[in-house]
Amino acid sequence: MKEILKRLCADMGISGRESEMLNIVRELIGESAYVSADKNGNIIASLGDMNADKHIMIDAHIDRIGLIVTYIDDEGFIKAENVGGIDQRTLPSSAVKVLGKEKISGVICTVPPHLTDGDGEPSRDRIWIDTGLSAAEVRELVSLGDSIIVCSRYTELLNDRVAVSALDDRSGCAVLINTIKLLKDRTLPCRVSFVFSVQEETNELGAQTAAFSLSPDEAVVIDAGFAKQEGVPDEKSGDLGCGGIISIAPVLSKAVTDKLIDISKRLDMKCDYEVSGSTTGTNADKIAVSGSGVRTGVISIPSKNMHTQTEIVSIKDMEKISELLAVYITEGGAENA
């Protein structure tokens, strides 16, 4: 799992630029499933009995938040705007990679403490990138619309926890790939489409169109959820290492959710629950109302520092969720209505 995750947390593939990830996903899945890409760039891995009555979609989004080049000034500084809900409080003095004709290192401009009384307000006007190159050099290598990744080192912490950027939702993608590996030699009672969907962070576009094209009966969405940490309410979060967070919400299918809870109990997972009175803030909201409707459930991977370059997840949680998904699929999903 760690090796899969490390490869997936590559410095590329912000929303709208997910095709950069296609080869990595293909390589990681290898011969374990049939892999294709659709018009929007969703990557779909198919498995199981293509003629079965039931079709299950398992979704994780492949895009990551980032920045996009909007302007280059006469001194070579690059103006950027956010793609997705990046936490702007983390940006000053952060290291970035500008994905131009080559990968260029840079730093987000800031003013040192010697010259200021305080940091001021986090603001989109302040997102300027310094590569140290001249305007001519920058213009040669970088075009408007190129993506910028806010980076951090892939860091292994204690207790099988990992800190790096893009865990939302490359950790979910790693769970999908691991599940495919667990299932590859099993005979399945259903058709399964694993969707690595695009543009979740901007408007959940990929999952919406993939769900329409695939027209599944059921779907399970794997995304990052809040882990318990200072400032996060207990009812909105799960313990890192708890196994996973199962969502309960009116827009989700009770049958799918109950089945996920049932399996988690059989697997001795100490899952936490996140109950919402409306939508879930994940791809599930769009998938559930796709076509004539899709019975949908959500499991989240507990994650600290969401939408920063140092998100933290537990490898153990990812492994548990992967096992749960494998059982769910092997048993043919939820009870039929």
Partner: protein, 341 residues
């Protein structure tokens, strides 16, 4: 060219004020074959004497500091995360979501805050203060964290060093660059006898330089630093202070020192004669070891030559190699000129 491989070793070593050992050991090893006398004093400063071709009538001290800004562990929370405070001046905005190394065993951690999704309107309008942040090392609880971390452990940024296309991006260029220049001077052939000090604890109040200057008792001094270049798009005119790529920075005044006017002029003239770029600071801002040295004992005539460096006191500062080379040339020429007077 200066030895930028050595600069990489110096910058990636961790030496938060008060715990400069790693940096000191690299420097001691590098200078041993070239110095005539090397001592480490009670404060932890390295004091060096190197003979030149001639013995001058004045005693010249060239100084740089070994320490860097960082953080210190002040408390271990029940949930295994660590509370910490800044050592030296670090902006609130420079801390959150950075990778860090803790203590002698370099335990890896990351700086955490409440996720952006859950912020109230007023919380979105500011950077989370360092007092509200904590570091996660992955420990399950306090008991487990205590096995890996102790109160008082120093915390350094864990960020990469990059040298590409004529610029360097790294933590701690302030002031490992100064340490590099001193080391290169000690390795070079000198016209005159000179004294050098690699000092501790600049960032917490110019403490090492105070004792070093007392011991060496110089007549004149040159401090080598990395200083605040603020030539970014949202700063204009004098607020830019100095520019990366604009050459060696020779300062006439900062918050700690009014520099010797004749030495300032000598520095500018040397740059002109050498054909290298030089500039000055357009704001009276910051301060450095000159503040302690110039008023040591009966007074020391002092100048400061710095590399302009953007984003100092953060995990990723940026400086140009061309400026670094200019600082070295200006320092060497200015020291020789002052001693020839």
């Amino acid at each position: 060219m200066l030895d930028y491989k050595l600069l990489e070793r110096l910058c990636t070593a961790d030496g938060i004020s008060g715990q400069e050992d790693e940096v000191r050991n690299i420097i001691l090893e590098e200078i041993a074959p070239f110095a005539d006398d090397v001592r480490t004093d009670n404060s932890g400063n390295i004091l060096v004497f190197k003979k030149g071709k001639k013995t001058p009538s004045k005693k010249m001290l060239i100084s740089a500091h070994m320490d860097e800004v960082g953080f210190i562990v002040t408390y271990i929370n029940k949930d295994g995360t660590l509370k910490f405070e800044a050592v030296g001046g670090v902006n609130d905005s420079a801390a959150f979501a950075k990778n860090v190394k803790i203590g002698k065993n370099k335990i890896r951690g990351v700086v955490c805050s409440k996720p952006v999704h859950l912020l109230k309107a007023d919380e979105k309008k500011k950077y989370p203060p360092i007092s509200s942040l904590c570091i996660d090392i992955g420990a399950k609880d306090r008991e487990e964290a205590e096995k890996y971390v102790s109160l008082g452990d120093m915390i350094a940024f864990d960020s990469p060093y990059e040298n590409k296309d004529g610029r360097i991006i790294s933590k701690a260029i302030d002031d490992r660059f100064g340490c590099l220049v001193l080391t290169e001077l000690i390795k070079s052939e000198l016209e005159y006898d000179m004294y050098f000090s690699f000092v501790v604890q600049e960032e917490v109040g110019l403490r090492g330089s105070r004792t070093a200057a007392f011991t060496v008792d110089p007549d004149c001094a040159i401090v080598i630093e990395a200083t605040t270049a603020s030539d970014v798009p949202f700063a204009e005119n004098e607020k830019r202070v100095c520019s990366a790529g604009g050459g060696a920075v020779i300062t006439f005044m900062d918050r700690a020192t009014i520099y010797d006017r004749e030495y300032y002029n000598i520095g500018m003239e040397c740059a002109k004669e050498l054909g290298v770029k030089a500039q000055t600071k357009t704001m009276i801002a910051g301060g450095n070891d000159a503040g302690a040295i110039h008023c040591s004992r009966g007074g020391v005539r002092t100048m400061a030559v710095s590399v302009p460096c953007r984003y100092i006191h953060s995990s990723s500062s940026l400086a140009c190699i061309e400026d670094m080379e200019a600082v070295y040339s200006v320092v060497k020429a200015s020291a020789e000129k002052i001693l020839s007077l």
